[in-house]
Amino acid sequence: MLKLRIERAPAPLWFRAVIPVIAVLATFILVSALVIVAGASPFSAFFELLINPLTKTTARADILMMATPILLTGLAVTVAFAAGYYNIGAEGQLYAGGMAAAWVGTQLQTESPFLMIPLMLIAGFIAGMLWALLPAILKVRLQVDEVVTTLLLNSVMLFLVSALLNGPWRDPVSGWPQSPTILAAAQFPVLIPRSRVHFGAIVAVVVAIVVWWVMSRTRFGIEVRAVGKNRDAARFLGIPVGNRILMAALISGGIAGLAGVGEVGGIHYYMTGTLSPGFGYTGVIVATLGFLTVPGAIVSALFLALVNRGAISASRELDVPVYLGDVIQAALLLVGLATLLLGRYRIRRVR
């Protein structure tokens, strides 16, 4: 008779490579329940979710557009988590960046995009950094847990934005609680004609490359990773632990700020209180599913964008609520984490 025993040893390599596939399959099976309740067949739902968007050019372009902000927040979270710093505040940092970009975009009197856009990016990065500064300092100096502080500041930022947009910064033209429209020079060029894919996508790719290069090829990057993986040993080796955590936290905030810049400069052309439907939190999903690596983050961002675009398509064709996309990405996160554990066990035949 075949007797099997489960033991605590790393699973074979081929199995570990298959785990992401298992996670995706398991997620979709679980989510089928919702689809059936919505009155659609799981198969047609998955067709709409995964296949259909890839077949049409407009949908494909949409995927790129939707991937842009979450790739940036995903990269922001990746950098922070690499140092062992749990930055859940990407949402607030994104809004900070968006505000700064909108301010530059409306105040700077120039006709040249070559002057305007880089300045917007710089302003947005700095704004995101500043918003990340307080929790980072509290963590490094006073050992205050950064999860709660970054989370709370998200809410504070939303209030701040609302106060500004309903008050001194309200658009006099439309009267809506949004900032005045940014100048033409500030509007990000569209990359693919008749789509909404904007310059922000290039920014995201550039940031991805830079982050990858810094984390793997520079002294700073390896020191940050060392701190994240074994803080005591890093200290023993003479690495300035507090400084590296602080820098990682600030850079993380800056990158999240860039996501906000993209949304303002490339999508809305003004600052609004609904700039982000939770991109900051989606960034955590992107980073985690990407195993805290840059290539992983890129793949995750694209996949999640596909799923979200597919959810829109499913809602149109099959009358399945578009929130299916949100459910899938959250489920993917949890299922993904759980299936990772499978990689810690192997099955042995007992003779």
Binding site: R217, T218, R219, F220, I222, E223, R225, A226, K229, N230, D232, A233, A234, R235, F236, L237, G238, I239, P240
Partner: protein
């Protein structure tokens, strides 16, 4: 009839035999001392008694009945209580709450009744305790008494104490002993695990000596002497000297440490005015039983801890405390006590080899991967590390991880080498290799400070042997003049005055 008897207990951990056919018994109303060096098997034996380990062979009898102790709950049910070196107390709870925990007897807590019981039990043992005191605010001595109260509350008849005075002040030690004597008067039995001879003679009636997992001696305390016991414990009569012992008294002092004082978090002093020096080309070994300040000394000398007072110099230059990077710059090679805190498992072997000197491999912030790889390959070759540069460090064996630590620090031609427990957990081959490398450094002219709980290692490598006891250096020997009896006596606190023996 003995209250408790262990017969033929054997326990193996892989290839290591921690307890080898040990038989041990305790009578009612006696204080029995279990004596031995580190690694002798005392703690293992007592953990078996407390149900934390299961013996591979042998039996345990309580009041003549054979019992099987599969967990601490079983042990407690049979009246066995255990006070370990690391208290299982909740610092934010009160004394009463800690005593109650897990044995509340009622779903709704009766605080007043409990408080009274705590105070009464303490009074019966002739000491006072505030039942509402927060345990975290108590001194170590008081916390220990709470642990004893816990055991009594659970109805123990045999109380096992593991190195109870290791963390106590003399006053607390006295109080503890008077409590133990009181327990004895009330008919309970006490097993005290210790390495301090004066304790054995102060309160025990019988003593069992363990060495390398076996019982090497039993005696009635009244009938034996300190000399006899320390001989049994340390067990060496002569030390074969197989290497050239040079005398270095004229060489330059490379490491000079004065008057280090350091207290732990609860304020108990762990280092009291410790001073030592190491000259170029010599190996100085610090011998001592674990818990006498070695860890604190190591943490200071590796840059991880800060003393409250004292100073140190390396090659004449002041040594800053708490700055590991500065130590690297002063050419101090550091081999930490805990390998896992010196190496980053998830990074590659190559990265671990170069990180301490990462600046040398960086140009304008950019890592020179080619240079790193070449360096790694060279060190792997020179130090015979069984790994490839890209292997994650955590996949290596203990011995190879230690080689990484050796390689990265010794390849820099250090002036001073601080080696803390360098062969802990390593097999014979790896141990020999480490010893070889340390001697090489000495030949090179470096000053090597070896801090180890393994007396054999110290005796085999050192030119000078220092003995650390209760946070200070209490003896210094030239290797050729080491009298093992005096050494053992110093390590166990038998000798009161500082001893210095020179050629």
């Amino acid at each position: 009839m003995s209250v408790l008897e262990m017969r033929g207990i054997t326990k193996r951990f892989g290839a290591l035999v921690a307890n080898d056919q040990i038989s041990f018994d305790i009578e009612a109303g006696e204080v029995h001392a279990l004596l031995g060096e580190n690694g002798a098997g005392k703690s293992t034996l007592m953990k078996i008694l407390y149900g934390l380990y299961q013996p591979d062979e042998g039996e345990i009898f309580v009041n003549g009945q054979r019992v099987s102790l599969k967990s601490p709950a079983d042990a407690i049910a049979h009246g066995i209580g255990f006070v370990s070196q690391h208290f299982a107390l909740i610092p934010t709870f009160t004394v009463t709450e800690n005593v109650l925990l897990g044995h509340e007897k009622q779903p709704i807590l009766q605080h007043d009744a409990m408080r009274r019981q705590v105070v009464e039990t303490a009074e019966k043992l002739r000491f006072n305790i505030d039942p509402d005191a927060i345990v975290g605010h108590l001194s170590v001595g008081q916390q220990q008494r709470v642990e004893i109260l816990k055991a009594l509350y659970r109805g123990c008849r045999v109380l096992i104490l593991d190195e109870p005075t290791a963390v106590l002040t003399p006053q607390d030690t006295e109080k503890l002993f008077s409590i133990l004597i009181e327990l004895q008067r009330q008919g309970l039995s006490v097993v005290i695990i210790t390495h301090k001879l004066n304790e054995v003679f102060t309160i025990s009636q019988r003593v069992t000596v363990l060495r390398l997992g076996k019982v090497v001696g039993r005696a009635l305390t009244a009938n034996t002497s300190q000399t006899e016991l320390s001989q049994m414990m340390v067990g060496r009569q002569t030390i074969p000297v197989t290497r050239n012992i040079d005398h270095h008294s004229q060489n330059e002092i490379k490491l000079n440490v004065q008057n280090l004082a350091m207290a732990d978090r609860s304020g108990a002093p762990r280092l009291r005015g410790l001073s030592l020096n190491v000259r170029a080309g010599e190996v100085v070994g610090v011998a001592g039983v674990a818990g006498n300040g070695q860890s604190e000394l190591v943490s200071i000398l590796t840059g991880m801890g800060q003393p409250q007072s004292g100073s140190a110099q390396v090659s004449g230059k002041a040594m800053p405390f708490g700055k590991p990077a500065a130590l690297s710059q002063l050419k101090v090679a550091r081999i930490p006590e805990d390998r896992l805190k010196g190496v980053i498992g998830d990074l590659s072997v190559a990265d671990n080899l170069m990180l301490e000197q990462v600046g040398q491999f960086t140009r304008a912030g950019h890592l020179n991967r080619k240079q790193i790889r070449e360096y790694a390959e060279r060190l792997i070759r020179d130090f015979q590390i069984k790994a490839k540069p890209d292997d994650p460090a955590r996949t290596l064996s203990g011995g190879n991880i230690q080689k990484i630590i050796l390689a990265r620090s010794l390849a820099q031609n250090p002036e001073v080498v601080i080696a803390a427990q360098p062969t802990r957990g390593l097999d014979i081959g790896a141990t020999e290799y480490v010893h070889k490398k340390l001697l090489e450094q000495k030949q090179r002219g470096a000053a090597v400070l070896l801090i180890s709980e393994d007396l054999d290692e110290i005796l085999a490598l050192s030119d000078r042997v220092l003995v650390i006891f209760e946070g200070a250096i209490v003896g210094e020997f030239d290797a050729s003049e080491t009298d093992i009896d005096v050494l053992g006596a110093l390590m166990t606190g038998a000798a009161a005055e500082k001893v210095k023996i020179h050629a």
